[in-house]
């Protein structure tokens, strides 16, 4: 290494090392504390009657028989809930024109998707509550459905919210440069294609779960929560249940995955809180797998028409897309269901220097489950569209896949850059990541091998994608639009009397290793062994105020807050140590739990001694020395709306043209997420993300009938990607730290999911090229591939 040593080069550093997760053993031996592990005295259980229809008027609900059943505590319908809960509206002021009607915990008058909660039973066991649900008689009058996104705006389509006149929820147009002139140039070749991205969902190991208790004596509510944003949920419960925010405590202990699914507001969860308040006793609701498929937000559901004009030398002269996306009957609260489409408009073509760009997005209501933010919001769609069109363009002008990318990628020395869609990019490395990708995958050798195999009837393909990922969002993401969603995060670090430090942070752990990197950063910056760091997250009673972990912001924003707080505490401790040791604090350092001489590293005193003096024998300190062995810092991104990361990915597949089956042979990722805090955790994030991307590309699909019935709401019929079909996923890094923070970490949580489908689409189409056909619909199922091949 050249140049001066930085704070990251201190001895015994943890940042940059694959430190094992301190909480892994606890989870492995079954001592996790998930919401369903909560067993409280007097606790009762909720179950819901859900609409079997996609669109119907509720004529009557008869819960009388259920209410008298042994073990049933209460039966509620929509109007009972409405008496205790203000409805919510999933709009944000900066998403101009977005509209969505008020939504209640349980349906009022009309049901608008199959699975919408209609009535609630609270009973002494979940089984009894389900029995009672079976006794509730709901009389429906069927209404015409509008399910198909492509027909939702037709003049004769059923209108889901009559007060709106049609099913359009939001529309946005981006028009940058002179698109028409560029398409009209006589030296360009134009390619176009209609892509379809069908619905899928995030299947979390732990389902949505709520245990809520209410104490009428002091008007306090405690909510054991399985989500990602405890403070956001605190604000929502306060606003809609009319409780003081400070009287609501959210506790997220262990969370079994979320992927964006559990960050939203669901009627059944809110109804659980309302029931707890009415009954003044703890109520538990654990969504079962069927409920998860019917009501956990779905993702994607886009039909996009794209056109690209390329000059003879490969220059992208213009790009135009038209995105139509279905969001179900409401915009999800509080983050809305327009962000996915907005991201598609913002990010399509973002890795490339494109001057002329036009995009239209139309977000429409339909009688299906709600669609909203799931891991890599909008990214897989945006990346697959641009990369798919780029591949078409390369083929059309006879340029190689790599050459056309190199011709158009934004150069590594060009930053800062503002894209045609208005995105501000800095510290990206598209060219270096692509070069490294080609190197680690042995690109040229693979291509030669494929050409040889093709002549013997083996059809393999390679697909490449260059991507960006939105991470570390600033207040411009949600807060500016009026949502109580914090873009800043805080961390408190304190030294105890035994020389250990305790960190409480507002970012949250959902299984990705947040608590591990918090401990690493704190141990490293303060100067103790990592096993002397105790981390608390997820409990609003004990952590500073902050946003939580979503949008790939945990490490970049929360990590920086921990770094700043630990650094501040280190300064405060050295101040006290200087007084005790009668030397200047800048001659001292903290290493492995001891105060040492900064030059010789000779131990001067242990932290335990310092703690003993400060906490027990303050009489030994001068009266004017008032030690503060605790420090809190908050951090937000100020210079950019988002801190973008970039990466390059490649997939290798083998197609069986007789069956339409695709075998995944290899996958490679080169990711630049800035400073890598824990290489193993980052690689796990990338790999897990790629696997979810593979899911969307090949397996996962929420299949609806034409009248809005979800046909595969079980783990037997909804195909999540499984280990046996997964290829080896090789991950490498380029590290370009962001200048927006000392830590320099950007996000890494969503890149794999965002980029993998694009690479896989191109790989399959490469394999299909010998048959002079291609596919542009995901998931790429055997049947869709056989259709593309003209076999069926």
């Amino acid at each position: 290494m050249t140049g001066p040593l930085s704070i990251f080069d201190r001895p015994n550093a943890y940042i940059g090392k694959s430190v094992p997760r301190p909480d892994a053993a606890r989870l492995l031996v079954g001592r996790g504390q998930f919401v369903d592990d909560q067993q409280l005295p007097r606790m009762v259980h909720a179950a819901f009657v859900r609409s079997p229809h996609a669109h119907a008027r509720i004529v009557s609900i008869d819960g009388a028989q259920a209410a008298t059943m042994q073990g049933v505590v209460a039966v509620y319908d929509g109007s009972d809930m409405a008496d205790h809960c203000e409805p919510w509206v999933g709009t944000l002021t900066h998403m101009q024109g977005l509209r969505s009607p008020p939504q209640y915990p349980l349906a009022l008058d009309v049901v608008r998707w199959q699975g919408e909660p209609v009535a609630m039973v609270v009973a002494t066991s979940r089984a009894l509550a389900e029995d009672a649900c079976g006794l509730i008689d709901v009389d429906y009058e069927l209404l015409p459905e509008a399910c198909n996104v492509e027909a939702a705006l037709d003049r004769d389509a059923a209108v889901i919210h009559p007060e709106f006149g049609n099913n359009l929820a939001w529309e946005r147009i981006v028009d940058s440069g002179d698109v028409d002139a560029a398409f009209a140039r006589n030296d360009v070749t134009i390619v176009e294609r209609t892509f379809r991205f069908n619905r899928h969902t995030g299947v979390t190991l732990e389902p949505r779960s709520s245990v809520v208790d209410f104490n009428p004596a002091d008007e306090t509510m405690t909510y054991w929560y399985a989500g990602q944003a405890p403070h956001m949920m605190q604000a929502i419960l306060s606003k809609h249940l009319g409780l003081a925010e400070e009287n609501i405590r959210l506790i997220a202990n262990d969370v079994g995955g979320s992927f964006g699914i559990k960050i939203h507001t669901y009627g059944d969860d809110i109804a659980t809180a309302v029931a707890a308040r009415i009954l003044a006793r703890p109520v538990k609701f654990i969504a079962d797998r069927n409920e998860s498929f019917l009501t956990d937000i779905h993702a994607r559901d886009h039909r996009i028409h794209g056109r690209m004009a390329v000059a003879r030398d490969g220059e992208i002269a213009a790009l135009e897309i038209d995105d139509l996306t279905g969001i179900g009957p409401y915009s999800m609260y509080p983050r809305t269901s327009a962000i996915e489409c907005n991201q598609v408009l913002n990010l399509t073509g973002a890795p490339y220097a494109i001057q002329n760009y036009r995009a239209r997005g139309q977000v429409v209501f339909q009688n299906k489950n709600l669609m909203s933010q799931y891991r890599a919001v909008g990214h897989p769609v945006a990346m697959a569209v641009a990369e798919g069109l780029l591949e078409d363009a390369a083929l059309a002008i006879g340029l190689g896949s790599v050459d056309i990318r190199k011709r158009n990628l934004i150069r590594d020395d060009a930053y800062p850059v503002t894209s045609a869609a208005g995105m501000k990019f800095d510290d990206l490395s598209h060219c270096r990541t692509l070069d490294k990708l080609l190197d680690i995958m042995g690109h040229d050798v693979l291509r030669e091998e494929h050409a040889k195999l093709r002549s013997s009837g083996i059809h393999r393909g390679i697909g490449i994608a260059s991507i960006v990922e939105v991470t570390n969002p600033s207040p411009l993401f949600y807060g500016v639009g009026g949502a109580s969603i914090a873009a800043q995060d805080g961390a408190t670090v304190r030294l105890d009397a035994a020389g250990a430090i305790h960190v409480s942070a507002s970012i949250t752990e959902q299984g990705q290793g947040t608590n591990t990197i918090i401990a690493q950063i704190a141990a490293d910056m303060f100067g103790v062994e990592i096993d002397r760091v105790k981390v608390t997250t997820g409990d609003t009673a004990h952590v500073p105020y902050g946003g939580g972990t979503w949008a790939s912001r945990g490490a970049g924003i929360g990590g920086e807050a921990v770094l700043q707080a630990a650094t501040a505490l280190r300064g405060q401790v050295l101040e006290v140590a200087g007084t005790i040791l009668q030397c200047a604090p800048d001659r001292l350092d903290i290493l492995s739990g001891s105060i040492v001489d900064v030059k010789t590293a000779a131990q001067r005193m242990t932290l335990r001694e310092l703690g003993r003096i400060v906490y027990f024998r303050g009489n030994e300190l001068p009266p004017d020395v008032k030690p503060e062995l605790i420090a809190t810092r908050h951090y937000r991104v100020t210079d950019f709306p988002f801190v973008f990361t970039n990466g390059a990915m490649a997939a290798e597949v083998e197609l069986d043209p007789e069956t339409g089956f695709v075998k995944l042979l290899g996958f490679w990722v080169v990711e630049d997420c800035g400073r890598v805090i824990n290489p193993q955790l980052v690689d796990e994030q990338i790999r897990g993300g790629v696997v979810q991307g593979i899911g969307g590309a090949f397996y996962e699909e929420c299949i609806y009938s034409s009248n809005g019935q979800l046909l595969n709401a079980s783990m037997a019929d909804y195909l999540v990607p499984m280990a046996a079909e997964m290829p080896d996923i090789v991950v490498a890094h380029v590290e370009t730290p962001t200048k927006t923070s000392v830590l320099g970490a950007k996000g890494a949580g969503e890149a794999g999911t965002g980029g993998a489908p694009a690479a896989l689409l191109n790989a399959v189409n490469d394999a299909l090229r010998a048959f002079d056909t291609s596919i542009s619909e995901m998931p790429m199922t055997p049947e869709r591939l056989l259709k593309a091949l003209g076999v069926v």
């Binding site: 089984a127 409920e291 007789e658 069956t659 089956f661 595969n712 990607p721 199922t781 069926v792």
Partner: protein
């Protein structure tokens, strides 16, 4: 997703079980490995009044070689079939199919009798019974019946088994040519129910004689493809004319759509699998 309330009985002998079936009012569902029935109960698609647990019935255990048959107790688990030397030596077709049946944890519990009694049209074991010319022995307090597999599977989850009967054992005739078999299925993920699948046995392969061809996941029940057998009887693999007739025979069969494929796709895929299975049969 909790099962509705039910009574539970665990008889120790077959006679005891039959007495329960004969005397209990309301629906009694025998439970073997529970790998299909328990999810159906938790979804409340099945709500029996009583669950009768067959796991203590020692008479339904074991695999033996007797009188020209391999006789498999109905409560034999997939895992026991996988580990059985008798099965490996005499019915290697079963060994070829087993790795495709779900996953190890499910094979540890699931039983051959349970699968046959359930008669899922996408399951492997019922189709194997057709290809192997198996006979299914069922008993009730009224007596014993031996039902040919060809006459056992009647429709979607519908069999010749009466409400008061249980399967006790399966007789598979010992073949002179146990190695003349082929098994192929197409499943999107390893262990899933197949989009389509095929099991073939033959007495001779040069040319092919005594063929039995069974298809699964194509219709409401496992299907014995007699028309394919006839088209290929006495022909050799690679006989284009015979293959054409066989594919025509497939075309005349009535297949049913499911979530993974239309009937048209299934017809195409059965053709592909037939070709591959015949190659496997004769190599």
């Amino acid at each position: 997703m909790k099962a509705a309330e039910f009574d539970y009985a665990k008889p120790r002998t077959v006679d005891e079980a039959l007495a329960i079936l004969a005397s209990h009012e309301g629906e009694v569902r025998p439970i073997a490995g529970g790998q299909s029935l328990m999810p159906m109960m938790n979804f409340r698609l099945a709500q029996p009044d009583m669950l009768m647990d067959l796991n203590a019935l020692e008479e339904l255990q074991g695999i033996r070689d007797e009188g020209g048959f391999i006789i498999i107790g109905a409560m034999t688990r997939y895992r026991e079939l996988e580990c059985s030397e008798l099965i490996a030596a005499h019915i290697p077709l079963i060994c070829a199919a087993l790795p495709h049946i779900a996953h190890a944890a499910i094979r540890n519990r699931g039983t051959i009798g349970g699968s046959i009694a359930l008669a899922d049209p996408a399951a492997e074991m019922p189709a194997l019974m057709l290809a192997l010319e198996a006979t299914i022995t069922v008993v009730s307090s009224r007596g014993v019946r031996r039902i040919l597999a060809d006459e056992f599977f009647l429709g979607l989850y519908e069999t010749a088994l009466a409400d008061d009967e249980i399967i006790t054992e399966i007789h598979v005739p010992r073949s002179k040519a146990p190695a003349h078999f082929a098994f192929c299925e197409l499943a999107r993920r390893h262990g899933d129910y197949a989009i389509v699948g095929i099991a073939i046995t033959a007495q001779e392969i040069m040319p092919m004689r005594g063929l039995r061809v069974a298809l699964f996941s194509v219709s409401d029940r496992p299907v014995r493809a007699v028309a394919i057998e006839q088209a290929l009887e006495n022909t050799s693999v690679g006989d284009a004319g015979a293959m054409k007739l066989a594919v025509q025979a497939i075309g005349s069969m009535a297949f049913q759509d499911d979530l993974n494929a239309t009937d048209k796709t299934k017809l195409h895929l059965v053709g592909v699998l037939l070709k591959r299975a015949l190659t496997e049969l004769c190599t």
